[in-house]
């Protein structure tokens, strides 16, 4: 098991290095001068030479490429991701201020998706006919719903028409815990609809497969109650593929927050990302992309290790 974890982490570290190289290359393989590119307003006018020179100095573009690459890697390892063009704040500090809010939203949406998706998928697998068809249709729609459309419809229904929940914004926990939680509900549900549909689908096919196994038939023929068979013999064995989907989906959710935070005016990491893309604040964009990619890879490692615990056959 230990060797398995070490191998998995090593592969993950290699992937992180490749990802960092890609991000570094994205800026430097651009045709022309990256400083000119970042300063161009897209209207054909050339930026002033002074501004270009200043930016070249700030980004270290005057150094040899190898030195730049090395400094970039060292910066990432030591937690120095540069400073924002716009606010001149350290990128790491800006990210640290926003990240917890986005993580809170994603964790809430993940728990909600598991709570809805697994029972729904199990139900669809156990009942053929109308129940299964209804759930399958719902999951097909859920997967196809763009979060920004569904989120807007939620705002229309629950805050404009019914007036039950705030249309957006953010209240700090220590200011007003109830308002804080209320503000999480609509964005959380908007994020969860697609994810719970994916989990339900996976659960359905996984449970269906396990239910056809010999040991389930044996358990049934021993006269165990259907609930006990489901809990002890089916769900346990059906869980491994579901864990994988949940792990992968966590990363997809991180991506979806980009849209959801805009819909609900939620001041998280993703809205900082969108603002920075709009103002072409490259150091901040780069920093956030690095943080998200590293989180995404780490989660996949955790999922693989978890998989190893749940299903010892994988460890080989």
């Amino acid at each position: 098991m230990f060797a398995f974890i070490v191998t998995r982490v090593a592969v993950g570290a290699g992937l992180v290095l490749l990802v960092l190289t890609l991000i570094f290359a994205a800026l430097h393989l651009v045709p022309g001068d990256p400083a000119v590119l970042l300063l161009s307003r897209g209207d054909g006018t050339a930026p002033s030479q002074a501004a270009v020179d200043a930016l070249r100095g700030q980004l270290g573009l005057n150094q040899p490429l190898v030195a730049q690459y090395w400094n970039f890697l060292i910066g990432v390892v030591t937690g120095d991701l540069g400073t924002s063009f716009r606010t001149h704040e350290a990128v790491v500090a800006s990210i640290a201020g926003r990240l917890p809010r986005t993580l809170e939203l994603v964790v809430f949406a993940t728990l909600l998706s598991i709570a809805v998706g697994i029972p729904l998928g199990t139900l669809a697998a156990r009942r053929r006919g109308a129940v299964d068809t209804t759930i399958s249709t719902l999951t097909s729609i859920g997967v196809a719903l763009p979060v920004f459309v569904f989120g807007s419809v939620l705002v229309l229904a629950f805050s404009i028409w019914l007036g039950w929940l705030p249309a957006g914004g953010f209240t700090a926990w220590n200011q007003d815990p109830v308002a804080h939680l209320k503000g999480l509900i609509l964005p959380g549900v908007a994020l969860a609809v697609g994810f719970s549909a994916i989990i339900a689908r996976m659960t359905r096919s996984s449970v269906q497969e396990v239910m056809n196994q010999d040991w389930v038939r044996t358990a049934k023929s021993f006269g165990l109650s259907p609930f006990r068979v489901l809990r002890r013999h089916v769900l346990r064995n059906a869980l491994t593929p579901i864990v994988t989907v949940v792990g992968l989906g966590f990363g997809v959710l991180l991506g979806s927050t980009v849209l959801v935070e805009r819909v609900f005016n939620y001041p998280g990491l993703s809205s900082l990302l969108v603002e920075s893309v709009s103002t072409r604040d490259y150091p901040v964009v780069q920093g956030i992309v690095i943080v998200i990619a590293v989180m995404f890879i780490s989660i996949n490692i955790v999922v693989d290790v978890l998989y190893g615990f749940l299903d010892p056959r994988v460890r080989r």
Partner: protein
């Protein structure tokens, strides 16, 4: 291909959906002819007109522009980008997967582990945003970026297919007859490995529309005044309480279109690739 398989694949619901997709394609080509009005013509006195009044079939937006006409021109941009990106990702992914599957060894590591795994290490929209920061928004950026983003799916499909097809006797026969490597790869292996790719094509178009409309919603995809479905939803969100139709109409079209390409993919799978496990 037996006729019963067609009969099973083409349920009445799917025929309706395929009809919708065909109409979309027609609109994409014929938008200037079919659109009842100029998509950019403003008429402030008619702003936020509700659907089915004053000749505005789907209503007017906050500048009094005809929503139906904007949707039609938007379909043009939307489908052009989605089809272009899907085509690009299919070509790119197929080549990557074919190389990896056919040669194995170091080539396999480079293609299937390095290239594919690095692209998959990002949530798609995040990598798209990085590219938009560097290259600026617009159809060209979107097609290239989504072409790269969706390539891994095609690479994995072709890789798997190639692995199983390359051991078939007809491939060995082609090699024994002295066919060149490139000929064997593209003329013998590829055609026999392509059915799941065609099925995936339709699903990728749906994914591309989803991503493109999201980026346009953020104002980082297709830039106004060019009408696009995503930016129409974004505009509508500002008038949500007084005139919800400005958001609901384009939003509904986005949802229907994504669903339609998903259903089309299911139908294609049932016809072309019945062995493939059902998605649901």
């Amino acid at each position: 291909m037996s006729s019963s398989r067609w009969a099973r694949a083409l349920t009445p619901f799917r025929i309706v959906v395929i009809g919708y997709v065909l109409i979309l394609v027609a609109v994409m080509i014929l938008a200037p002819v079919l659109a009842p009005a100029d998509p950019l013509a403003q008429n402030v006195t008619k702003r936020l007109t509700v659907p089915l009044t004053d000749g505005y079939i789907l209503g007017a937006d906050e500048l009094g522009r005809d929503i139906l006409s904007r949707l039609m021109y938007g379909a043009r941009v939307e489908l052009f980008i989605a089809l272009g990106a899907t085509l690009a990702s299919m070509v790119l992914g197929t080549i990557i997967g074919l190389l990896g599957g056919y040669f194995g060894g170091l080539v396999e590591t480079l293609t299937m582990r390095v290239i594919v795994d690095v692209i998959l290490a990002f949530p798609p929209i995040i990598l798209a945003l990085l590219a938009v920061t560097l290259y600026g928004p617009g159809p060209g950026t979107l097609i290239v970026v989504m072409g790269v983003l969706f390539a891994p799916t095609f690479a994995r499909i072709t890789y798997g297919q190639t692995l199983s097809v390359k051991r078939e006797e007809y491939v060995e026969a082609a090699i024994a007859f002295g066919a060149k490597t490139v000929t064997t790869m593209f003329r013998v292996v590829l055609p026999n490995a392509s059915a799941p790719t065609i099925v995936r094509f339709s699903l990728t178009v749906a994914a591309a529309i989803l991503l493109e409309s999201g980026l346009s919603y953020l104002g980082l995809g297709v830039v106004p005044p060019t009408p696009s479905w995503g930016s129409m939803v974004a505009q509508g969100s500002r008038y949500l309480s007084s005139s919800p139709h400005v958001l609901l109409v384009p939003g509904g079209v986005v949802v229907l279109t994504i669903l339609a390409f998903g259903v089309l993919g299911d139908a294609l799978r049932d016809v072309l690739d019945p062995k493939e496990k059902r998605r649901s």
